[in-house]
C-alpha cells in the first residue's frame, strides 16, 4: 500500500484521540485517549521510516513508547493518589487551580 494510506489512518486516529481528550470526564479515559494520540504518532513515524528506508523512525517510535509508558505510570499514580484521598475522579470537579 502506498505510504499515504498509513498517514491518513494515523491522522484519523489522532483526531479521534483529540476528540476523546476533550470530551471525556473520567481522567482514566482521558489518559487512554492520550495513548491513542501517541500511537497515531507512532504509526506515522514508522510509515515515514519505511518511506526513507532507514531505521531512524523506528528508534523514535521506541522512545515514544518509553515516554508513553512513563507518562502512564505517573498519570495512574496521580489517579490512585486522588482515589486514596477520596476525591471525585472527575476532571470537571477538580478545579482548585483557578483564578
Amino acid at each position: 500500500m502506498a505510504i499515504g494510506w498509513y498517514l491518513a489512518v494515523s491522522a484519523l486516529i489522532f483526531s479521534i484521540g483529540a476528540g476523546g481528550v476533550l470530551t471525556r470526564r473520567n481522567p482514566l479515559v482521558i489518559l487512554l485517549c492520550l495513548e491513542l494520540m501517541l500511537n497515531a504518532a507512532n504509526l506515522a513515524l514508522i510509515a515515514f521510516s519505511r518511506m526513507h528506508g532507514n531505521g531512524d523512525g523506528q528508534i523514535f517510535a521506541i522512545v515514544v513508547m518509553v515516554v508513553a509508558a512513563c507518562e502512564v505510570c505517573i498519570g495512574l499514580g496521580v489517579i490512585v493518589a486522588m482515589y486514596r484521598r477520596q476525591l471525585p475522579i472527575d476532571v470537571d470537579e477538580l478545579r482548585e487551580l483557578q483564578g
Partner: protein, 669 residues
C-alpha cells in the same frame, strides 16, 4: 609668617573654638565655655592685628594679597580654590568683626550665665564669627557664598536659641527663609558674572570688569541686581527687611552682634567689594542707592511708633544700614565703611545697654511699662546716652563724622544725588527723635515698679516666667531663658565690655576728621584706588554747610523728643489721634508683612494645595499611575478568565491553538 598665614589663623581660631565648645559642651565647668569662646575670638583679633601690621609693611601697590590653601575643584572652566583675599577692606572688616565680637562675647559670659544652654550659645556664637570672617576674607565667589550661607545658618540657630518658644522658632524660620531668597540671588548673580569672566576669583574678575561691561548685553546689570537681592536680604533692606524686627526674639547679645554690628553689614561689604563691577553698571548702583534711601525713611518712621525697646533699636539698625547702602551705592565707599565701623560701636553698645534694662525688667521689653530707670541704673543710662548721642550724630561723637561724610560725598556728586542728600538729613532728624524718645521714655519720668525695686537694691524677679511677646507660661530649663537676669551694674564683665564700646563710640570718629586727617581713606586707598568716584570731597562749602546742618538737625531732634516725652507727655497721644492714619501705617510696619503674605506666601500655598489635591490626585494618581495599572489590571482580569481550572478547557485551548498554527502554516505554503 606672611600676611595670608595670618589670614588663615584668623579663620582658624573661631572655628576651633566653636568645635571645641560644641564637642565638650556637657563637660565644661562653670563659665569655661564662655572664656574659651571669648579667648578664641580675642586670638582672632590678635591675628587680625598681626595681619594688619604685615599688610602695612608692604608697599601700597602690593596690598591686595590672595592666599590659596588648596585647589578645591579646578575642573573644566571653573577655578574653585580655597583662597582668601587679604587687603585693607577685608582687614578693616575683620578688625570690626573680631573686635566687637570679643567684647560681645565678654558681655555674654555674664549675661547668659543663668541659661541652661550656656555652652551651646558660645559654640553657636563662635561659629557665627567664623562664618562672618570667612565671608569677609573670601577671595573668590565660592567662599563668599559659603560664608554667606553659613552666616544665615548661624543667624537661624541663634535667633531660635530659645527653641522652646514658638515665637522664637517662627522668627528664626522667617529670617532663614528670607536669607535663602537672598542666597538664590547671590548665586544667580555669581553665575551671570562667571559666565562672562570665566573666573571665580575676585581680583581676576575685577580686572576683566571693563571688558565685561563693553560686551554690551545687560548681563552685568542683571547679575549685579541679583547680587543686590542677596545684599538686601542679608542687610534687611526693603523689601526683604521683614525678618529683622522678628529676629529680636533672640537673646540680646545675638541681636547686638549679628543684627547690629556684623551680619547685616555683609550686604554693605558685598557692594563695596564689588565696586569695580558696580561702577561699570551704574543702573545697579543706582538701584542700591535708592533702596537704601527708601529703607532709611521707612525704618525711621516705624521707629517713631514701636513700643518694644529692642525693636526700636532694630529699626534704627535698618535705617543706618540704609545709610550705608545708600553710601556704597552712590560711590562713597570709604564713607560707607566708616559709618559701618562707627555704627558697629554705638549700636552694639545700645543693644548691650538695652539688654541690661531688659534684665532689670525681668525679661519684659515693653517701653510702655518702663520708666525712670535713671537713678537705679546709672551706668546703663550713661551708656545709653553715649550711644544715643553717637547715633543721633551729635559732634564730637563718632556717628556725626561718619554720617556727615556720606552725605557730603553724595551731595558733592550732584545731579539727582541731591535727592539722596535731602533724604539723608530727613532721616537724621527722624533718627534723633526716635532714639531719644526711647531714652527719655525708659529713663526719665516716674519710676516704674521694677525701677523702684532696683533702687532699693533688689533686682526684680518675675513670679511666673512668661514669654513677653504672647504671655505664654514657660519654665527655665534648656530651651527657655534662664531664671536669673543680669544687669550691667552688678556685673564686671558687662561693664568692661560696655565701657570699651562706649569709649570707641566717643573716639571712633577721630580717624577721619574732615580737614584734619584722613587715616581711614589712606588705609583703604589700595582697595579703592581703581574707583572712578572721588572718595574724598574737596567741596569745602558743602562741607561746612553739612557740618552745621548735621549738628542742627541732631540737636533739634533731641529737643523735639525732650519736649514730647519729658515736658509734655500727653502730646504724643494727641498727635497720634490727629494723624491716626499715619500712625496706623507706621505701627503696622507699612503693611509689608501683609504684602509679602499676599504676593508670595498665598500663591505658594495655593500652588501647594493645587499640586496636592488636583495635580497629584488627578494627573499623577489617576492618569499616570491609574492608567497603566488599570490597563494591566484589566488585561490580567481578561487573562485570568482563561484560568478556569477546567482541565478540558485547557486541553481544548491547546488543541485549538495547534489547529490554528497548523492552518497558518498551511496557508503560508
Amino acid at each position: 609668617m606672611n600676611v595670608t598665614d595670618y589670614g588663615w589663623l584668623i579663620l582658624l581660631f573661631p572655628l576651633v573654638g566653636s568645635v571645641l565648645i560644641g564637642l565638650l559642651s556637657s563637660k565644661l565647668p562653670g563659665k569655661a565655655a564662655g572664656f574659651i569662646g571669648t579667648g578664641s575670638i580675642f586670638l582672632a583679633f590678635l591675628a587680625t592685628v598681626g595681619a594688619l601690621f604685615k599688610l602695612q609693611d608692604r608697599p601700597e601697590e602690593a596690598r591686595q594679597v590672595t592666599g590659596i590653601l588648596y585647589d578645591y575643584a579646578s575642573t573644566v572652566g571653573v577655578d574653585a580654590e580655597m583662597s582668601i583675599l587679604v587687603d585693607p577692606l577685608s582687614i578693616l572688616m575683620c578688625l570690626v568683626v573680631s573686635g566687637v565680637s570679643t567684647l560681645i562675647h565678654l558681655y555674654s559670659v555674664a549675661y547668659m550665665w543663668s541659661d541652661k544652654g550656656y555652652a551651646r550659645f558660645f559654640a553657636y556664637l563662635n561659629f557665627f564669627v567664623f562664618s562672618m570672617l570667612l565671608l569677609v576674607l573670601a577671595g573668590n565667589f565660592m567662599l563668599l557664598i559659603v560664608g554667606w550661607a553659613f552666616v544665615g545658618a548661624a543667624s537661624y540657630l541663634l535667633i531660635s536659641y530659645w527653641y522652646r518658644r514658638t515665637t522664637a522658632t517662627t522668627a528664626g524660620l522667617k529670617a532663614f527663609v528670607i536669607n535663602v531668597v537672598g542666597d538664590i540671588g547671590l548665586v544667580l548673580g555669581t553665575y551671570f558674572i562667571f559666565k562672562h569672566t570665566g573666573t571665580l576669583d575676585f581680583l581676576k574678575t575685577f580686572e576683566s570688569a571693563e571688558e565685561f561691561a563693553n560686551e554690551g548685553n545687560g548681563d552685568l546689570t542683571a547679575g549685579l541686581i541679583l547680587l543686590l537681592v542677596g545684599a538686601f536680604a542679608k542687610s534687611a533692606q526693603v523689601p526683604f527687611h521683614t525678618w529683622l524686627p522678628d529676629a529680636m526674639e533672640g537673646p540680646t547679645p545675638v541681636s547686638s552682634l549679628i543684627h547690629a554690628a556684623t551680619m547685616v553689614t555683609a550686604g554693605v561689604y558685598l557692594i563695596a567689594r564689588m565696586h569695580p563691577l558696580f561702577e561699570q553698571a551704574p543702573a545697579a548702583a543706582d538701584v542700591a542707592a535708592i533702596t537704601g534711601a527708601v529703607t532709611l525713611l521707612v525704618a525711621g518712621t516705624i521707629g517713631l511708633v514701636v513700643t518694644d525697646l529692642k525693636r526700636v533699636i532694630a529699626y534704627s539698625t535698618m535705617s543706618q544700614i540704609g545709610y550705608m547702602i545708600m553710601a556704597v551705592g552712590g560711590g562713597a565707599y570709604v564713607a560707607g565703611l566708616f559709618h559701618l565701623m562707627t555704627h558697629a560701636f554705638f549700636k552694639a553698645l545700645l543693644f548691650m545697654a538695652a539688654g541690661s534694662v531688659i534684665g532689670a525688667m525681668a525679661g519684659k521689653q515693653d517701653l510702655d511699662q518702663m520708666g525712670g530707670f535713671r537713678k537705679a541704673m546709672p551706668f546703663t543710662f550713661g551708656c545709653f546716652v553715649i550711644g544715643g548721642l553717637a547715633l543721633a550724630g551729635v559732634p564730637p561723637f563718632s556717628g556725626f563724622f561718619s554720617k556727615d561724610e556720606i552725605l557730603l560725598i553724595l551731595g558733592d556728586r550732584g545731579g539727582w544725588y541731591i535727592g539722596l542728600y535731602v533724604v539723608g538729613y530727613i532721616g537724621a532728624l527722624l533718627t534723633a527723635v526716635y532714639t531719644w524718645r526711647m531714652i527719655f521714655r525708659a529713663f526719665f519720668g516716674e519710676a516704674c515698679p521694677e525701677a523702684k525695686e532696683l533702687e532699693g537694691g533688689h533686682l526684680h524677679h518675675a513670679a511666673v516666667h512668661t514669654n513677653p511677646a504672647n504671655g505664654e507660661v514657660e519654665d527655665t530649663e534648656v530651651g527657655f531663658p534662664g531664671a536669673e537676669h543680669h544687669i550691667a551694674e552688678q556685673s564686671t564683665a558687662m561693664k568692661v565690655a560696655m565701657g570699651c564700646l562706649a569709649v570707641l563710640a566717643v573716639i571712633g570718629g577721630f580717624i577721619q576728621i574732615p580737614k584734619v586727617n584722613h587715616w581711614l581713606d589712606d588705609f583703604l586707598h589700595p582697595t579703592f584706588e581703581d574707583s572712578k568716584i572721588e572718595q574724598l570731597s574737596s567741596n569745602d562749602g558743602l562741607l561746612y554747610f553739612g557740618l552745621i546742618l548735621g549738628t542742627f538737625v541732631a540737636l533739634v531732634g533731641i529737643a523735639i523728643a525732650y519736649r514730647l516725652w519729658v515736658q509734655q507727655p500727653e502730646t504724643p497721644a494727641r498727635i497720634q489721634a490727629r494723624f491716626s492714619f499715619l500712625h496706623r501705617l507706621f505701627v503696622n510696619k507699612w503693611y509689608f508683612d501683609e504684602l509679602i503674605d499676599l504676593v508670595v506666601v498665598r500663591p505658594f500655598a495655593w500652588f501647594g494645595r493645587f499640586g496636592q489635591q488636583t495635580f497629584e490626585r488627578v494627573v499623577v494618581g489617576a492618569a499616570l499611575i491609574g492608567g497603566p495599572t488599570g490597563l494591566v489590571k484589566a488585561g490580567s482580569a481578561a487573562v485570568r478568565a482563561l484560568q478556569s481550572g477546567f482541565l478540558r478547557a485547557y486541553a481544548a485551548l491547546l488543541l485549538a491553538g495547534v489547529a490554528i498554527t497548523l492552518f497558518y502554516f498551511l496557508v503560508q505554503s
